[in-house]
């Protein structure tokens, strides 16, 4: 594992499988009477959120707390950022407070990278979504959900998603989730197809390791998982499609379309869902829709990431030889 988690593209296949396997063990802690591990006692995790988020922040907070880390939540609203403080000064403040890990969400693509490489802080940096760039833990939890559903929780251990066909539908242009998923799923051996109106496909997408399609109906019958994305109106400053009704008709998932998917195929959504827009209520409430499962899996994945980044020694220096090696 690297010291930071900035981009899903930085992960090798082995890194990614290790995270998924670790998350599988973390998921089992949730079934215990005491849902807590002492592993990160005395470590401080700062949730640095410059953009609104409920589920990601709560998920990271729950993950850190289950590992016994101390959690400091910092949101830009009502903080010194609203008074004009720069990212650098905020980072230096966190460093002075002794943060071992900083989980950052920022509206500007590249902010986590800047934080990790600037030398402002010593701790690990975890990208919790930056602009329209990446959201690696979301991609990991999506891959985890797919592996559990398509390969199996126990039989999936040590395995990737070789040969699975994943379709990602909707606002690819503004979606950091799509970008992270394309990289990670490709690393894990899956075939990814992006489906969107031409106006919502980013420039340079032909460099991405995936296929592009403009028609949802052709792709559905051969998809093992279909991931619906929300149309991010808050990031749109122009008209990308004529009407919502037309978008919904062509790119929304309803019961008829779901019936055309293979029997085993699942419907995913990173949330928040807009029912009636990209997904109908009937599909959202069906057994094949994994939205709630994805939220639960998010905590396991974030526990795994925090454990793998913070659970070992702090410095890159080789560890002192231990006397107790044979005891495993």
């Amino acid at each position: 594992m690297k010291r930071h988690l900035i981009s899903a593209a930085d992960l090798t296949r082995d890194d990614a499988v290790l995270i998924l396997d670790t998350a599988e063990e973390m998921a089992r802690v949730a079934d215990r009477p005491i849902k807590k591990l002492p592993t990160l006692r005395g470590r401080t995790v700062v949730n640095l959120f410059f953009e609104d988020s409920t589920r990601t922040r709560i998920s990271f907070e729950a993950a850190a707390k289950r590992l016994s880390a101390d959690v400091i939540n910092f949101s830009a609203k009502g903080s010194s950022v609203s008074k004009g403080e720069s990212l650098k000064d905020t980072a230096l403040t966190l460093e002075a407070m002794g943060a071992d890990a900083v989980v950052i969400r920022h509206g500007a693509s590249g902010a986590p990278y800047r934080l990790a490489t600037s030398g402002w802080i010593d701790g690990a940096v975890v990208n919790a979504g930056d602009g329209t760039h990446e959201h690696p833990t979301q991609a990991l939890l999506d891959a985890f959900t797919m592996r559990r559903r398509l390969v199996g929780a126990d039989s999936g251990l040590g395995r990737d998603l070789e040969g699975r066909r994943i379709t990602i539908v909707g606002d690819i242009l503004h979606s950091r989730v799509a970008r992270s998923n394309v990289h990670l799923l490709n690393t894990l051996g899956a075939h990814v197809t992006l489906v969107a109106p031409p106006t919502l496909v980013p420039v340079g997408v032909e460099q991405w390791p995936c296929e592009i399609s403009y028609g949802l109906d052709e792709v559905l019958p051969e998809s093992d998982a279909v991931m619906m994305l929300r149309v991010q109106r808050e990031r749109m400053n122009a008209a990308y499609f004529p009407t919502e009704r037309e978008y919904s008709r062509r790119y929304g998932l309803d019961a008829d379309r779901m019936a055309r998917m293979p029997e085993h195929a699942i419907v995913m959504h990173p949330g928040p869902m807009v029912r009636g827009m990209e997904i109908t209520a009937e599909v959202a409430d069906s057994d094949r829709c994994t939205v709630v499962e994805q939220v639960a899996n998010g905590v396991s994945i974030r526990m795994a990431v925090l454990y793998l980044l913070l659970g070992g020694y702090e410095s890159a220096a080789p560890a002192a030889p231990s006397r107790t090696e044979e005891n495993k």
Binding site: E25, T39, L309, A320, P321, S322, R323, T324, E325, N327
Partner: protein, 194 residues
């Protein structure tokens, strides 16, 4: 874990062979039945990796002796270790608690080598987060001494007095293709490491 990757040096000599290990496990099984007066409420929990295989073998022997079903599982202690920060983060192993649970039962922890006792300390902490057994006992294949904590085993396969420069390596068919306990000498003693 590192020791197992080193090819057993020319100095490594077997102190227990496959038939010895089988005999030792049979004896421990009988001791468990004797001490637990029938082993009705015994739950065996192996500590990964090799402790799990030993626990399964012990369970088979106990089932032969008592004729009943013997609950057996595994207890991963990685997250409870006290030396986590001395090394890179390790991969986790499986914790599998049998359906009967451990509440109010006699848990017998099973491991291959008892050395510093730190693994068992971690196992006791891990157990505390899962439930409250009636009692906890410890069965090990080899006790090599050099305890760093006030911990002792209830059932010992073989007491093996060692020096700190020696290495003890347990091999089991399930993992290593053969059954043996090897005693070797560390080829390069780490300077000031111990």
């Amino acid at each position: 874990m590192d020791a197992q990757h080193e090819a057993p040096g020319n100095a490594a000599r077997p102190v227990l062979e496959a038939p010895d290990i089988a005999r030792v496990l049979t004896r421990i099984a009988h001791e468990i039945v004797e001490r637990a007066k029938g082993a009705d409420d015994v739950v065996l929990l192996g500590i990964p990796t090799r402790g799990v295989f030993l626990a399964r073998r012990l369970a088979e022997k106990l089932e032969e002796i008592t004729g009943g079903k013997m609950p057996v599982g595994s207890l991963d202690i990685t997250m409870y270790r006290d030396d986590l920060r001395l090394r890179p983060a390790r991969a986790l192993a499986r914790t599998e608690i049998p359906g009967e649970g451990i509440e109010g039962r006699l848990v017998v922890l099973v491991d291959d080598v008892l050395f510093s006792g730190r693994t068992i300390r971690a196992a006791l902490d891990a157990l505390g987060d899962i439930g409250r057994p009636r009692a906890v006992q410890l069965a090990v294949l080899v006790d090599r001494g050099h305890r760093e904590l006030p911990i002792r085993a209830d059932y010992v396969g073989k007491n093996l007095p060692t020096s700190l420069r020696e290495t003890v390596k347990v091999q089991l068919a399930e993992e290593d293709g053969r059954d043996a306990v090897l005693l070797g000498v560390e080829r390069t003693a780490p300077a000031g490491g111990q």
